[in-house]
Symmetry: C2
Subunit: 210 residues, 2 copies
DNA sequence: TAGATTGTTAATCGATTAACAATC
DNA sequence: TAGATTGTTAATCGATTAACAATC
């Protein structure tokens, strides 16, 4: 199977389309055109069709796409046809927010272990998951077979945690510490820097003045 | 002044460079080359120079960049030479996490008002800021002259809140609700969808199998 | 059949990379 | 002067948009 490179922007849009299709499906709409999707999420119809064309032919010419079918296909493409086991490290406010974030569970991300080094937090139970000390990470994550690690710990310890997560066998890491992490190439790494988002806004607001 | 369009990717990288320069400056390093910065944040040296070249000449040929100088210039470009007043709407776990997130204050983002409709939260004080009901938003935000609004409320009310924020005069909105919002073109809007980030990871992990 | 909309190719646009003259 | 590194131009690469034949 020849795999041509898929732009990351395409993946991000597929994720957005899929959330929009959930909404449309709930309304009981059966068929949708690329133009409808485009209007709904703010891209061009050609873009929608191009994004889908990377993965196959899901529509009917002259008609459009069956909402349920297309939705199922996109979820499959994104790897969301079954649940993912997630380990979260760092139970500060952000970690707590992500643990209780409904959007994750809805999309099939199940937090199966939580780690923190604060003695007051260790042993407490959140959603049926007991908070464990970080030195148990490699053992517990390995046993739980978590495939994804989320780092919501301070920058100073983020690299150590990343190393432990890698050792425990996770395939992907989502890092919220504003820090450049090093992981082996076979482990997928993605950084979410909350301040960066505000700074793109302030740049744009500041530039408007000229 | 002719303004040529700056890629958003450049702005995001400038934000990353600036965080790296904070680190370098703390170590007491005085001069840095584009190659050092590139290594530090994982891009190419040519990219670093190109990004900076959009805004001026900040280095010395044969020598490199003065760390403090460059840092100051980048902060100025990003609009961070003075503080920004921020209104946060929706004090769930995510809202609480952002309110207490040190990374914001460090970069000059000061949360000056907080809104929620939960009677148990209204009237409580967080970091000197009293939580107010959402129907006071337009009045309070207008009075506080907040320039940025952060939406951490549920999707169902996100558009209403966005409308109120616009009415109150904010110039930019950072939206964490997984929802497409409509705002007038003069208001900058940026969406952070936490699930999208996980889904880019799962797509990549799922594709590795082929 | 006529109208609509897909899937796909070609054209355009934009961003990144490579190369090198300028210059400290 | 010799070595290093910037600033900038040209070449390359990749993503988006436009156009349209295929076809329901």
């Amino acid at each position: 199977m020849k795999t041509l490179k898929i732009p990351e922007a395409t993946i991000i849009r597929l994720s957005v389309y899929s959330r929009y299709l959930t909404e449309i499906d709930r309304k009981g709409i059966v068929t949708i055109s690329s133009g409808d999707i485009a209007d709904g999420v703010g891209v061009s119809p050609a873009q929608v069709r191009k994004d889908l064309a990377y993965f196959g032919e899901f529509g009917t010419r002259g008609v459009g796409y069956n909402v349920k079918d297309l939705h199922r296909h996109i979820l499959k493409i994104l790897g969301l046809s079954s649940d993912w086991s997630v380990a979260l490290v760092g139970l500060g406010n952000l970690g707590l927010a992500l643990t209780t974030y409904k959007g994750f569970r809805e999309r099939g991300f199940v937090i199966t272990s939580i780690f923190d080094n604060d003695p007051k937090k260790i042993g407490t139970v959140l959603d049926g998951v007991e908070v464990m000390p970080i030195d148990k990470l490699v053992e517990v994550v390995g046993k739980n077979k978590a495939q994804i690690g989320i780092i919501t710990a301070p920058s100073a310890v983020a690299q150590d945690i990343a190393d432990s997560l890698v050792k425990s066998g996770v395939k992907a890491i989502l890092n919220f510490a504003p820090m450049v992490l090093n992981v082996p190439p076979e482990v997928e790494l993605r950084n979410v820097d909350l301040a960066v988002n505000l700074e793109v806004l302030t740049f744009n607001v500041a530039s408007q003045r000229y």
